[in-house]
Subunit: 344 residues, 2 copies
Amino acid sequence: MAQTATINRRIVLARRPHGAPVADDFRLETGPVPSPSEGQVLLRTLQLSLDPYMRGRMGEGPSYAPPVPLDGVMVGGTISRVAASRHPHFQEGELVAGYAGWQDYALADGPGLVRLAPELAGHPSLALGVLGMPGFTAYMGLLDIGAPRPGETVVVAAATGAVGSVVGQLARLQGCRAVGIAGGPDKCRYAVAELGFDACLDHRAGDLKAALAQACPGGIDVYFENVGGAVFEAVLPLLNAKARIPVCGLIAQYNRHPGPGPGPDRTPLLMRTLLSRRIRMQGFIIFDDYGPRFGEFQQAMGDLWRAGRIKAREDLVAGLENAPAAFIGLLQGANFGKLVIQVA
Amino acid sequence: MAQTATINRRIVLARRPHGAPVADDFRLETGPVPSPSEGQVLLRTLQLSLDPYMRGRMGEGPSYAPPVPLDGVMVGGTISRVAASRHPHFQEGELVAGYAGWQDYALADGPGLVRLAPELAGHPSLALGVLGMPGFTAYMGLLDIGAPRPGETVVVAAATGAVGSVVGQLARLQGCRAVGIAGGPDKCRYAVAELGFDACLDHRAGDLKAALAQACPGGIDVYFENVGGAVFEAVLPLLNAKARIPVCGLIAQYNRHPGPGPGPDRTPLLMRTLLSRRIRMQGFIIFDDYGPRFGEFQQAMGDLWRAGRIKAREDLVAGLENAPAAFIGLLQGANFGKLVIQVA
């Protein structure tokens, strides 16, 4: 069933997942298209961003933000067209970026809506990726927390993903050696040939620790953490004195119980490494920590984009009804590039 | 056997400890007093500082610095009198702070020797504690990495020790709530009554997690990490958003094997907490990271000391031969205040 003018399809959280989400954790519902009150706009969703952080919102444990309520519409960043407006600052037909969630239509009253720059009209989904939240995450996490200096080595996993691909390209632009980690030879080839990584390692190919040591002969100065788990274990012994670790995500552990994992306990080794090598590790949540600098980012990244110095690959999946399967795949690394649902 | 003018007693590393050091890991040797060459001074040790970092130097694994070689003299900060000088900048009879190690006499050629301020002549061991390396560690770790703001809550363990006692007092001077953790009711009473901590919890008294939650009703903003282990586990759930964790020591784990510990693995929980609460954790080694600011520290801490705004308690043990037993006790928390060996 495709998008229509009279029915609002929406995907709600049917139940909280145990471990990896499955199809039955979501439910597609239909209802009437809502009508805007005075001061509101009606948004029609064109594109929906799928991002790993959404896994956190499906649980009820502590996460970045309050969980999605059971039977509530899944949250998500979107590109929408203003279908009707009773808001003084938005006109019918305009393109806006916002957080309409996994549905065809949504009402909004202004805050959180950003009118798309006219130059993006031909490629609005960029505002969900390299020029939006994931790009902003890469930009601030790498440059502000990672603070890479020319000649240093920067390592990032999910190297062809929305965040990792920008981290690697920005690292190169800073004069750093950029070493990526990705799943499978196609992604690794792409990271080196198209994105300019100096090396990219296939974490499915076997001994990641040995491969990483070989790819980082001068050690690791910045590890941009977006996965956790086995990758972080491989990185730890290679970290140089005064290394920096921006922690932006932990996709490898999102699907497991939030408590302690099977032993042995690696915490003492981690703490000892932080101490003896004088390492800084810092968690961040992009809009909470850097919200006021979004304009600065948009300007800088927009310039790089227009100059052709940053590339972005998208993995477009057609149909809102396919969002659950695509999201389940995202957590397993099935996507190749920024995952976007083409809703309309 | 006391210090003499003709024999140099020295305590060497007889073997590398497995787990907690024992008496047989050390050996007392005697030899002739060395003679200074041109450009050297002969130092006679008056006082020897014992500090937890020395445990790291006894192992052969990675630590802050190269390990003490087998049969080598144990390293350590000292207050010495210049017994003979063939160095143009030091005169016989002067008091100097340096790193002569666990022995009666040592040769030095200048670098690393600091002439004691005249006002310290009556109390030279302060230069091994509040006005020396431990005080500097507390000062920079708390103020530069911890960056406490008035009204915030600062937690530190080993609260009556050389570092913890200064952290707590500086936190109070910054307008923070200072919560200490120490071993036994006497130390806890002292921390509150004499050092001015708002609360001090006895980690031997039972449920530390519950006691800490009660003592920190507004959560924890700065955790000055000098112990690791069970204390850090109790702290973790109470950390506020944007908390800071300077990591200066891990005394609870110095005596264990450097590899992973018994499960479960607490790393995923730690990483998740750092991410979702946007926490900064940073290891540091005081002279490596802040060496050029030692003068600034001496001025500031000296002013506080002279004004009576910072107190220091020392645990003086007489006799070089008692250094091994005192050091073994230090790692178990047997000392009460800054541990100093009165050598002469």
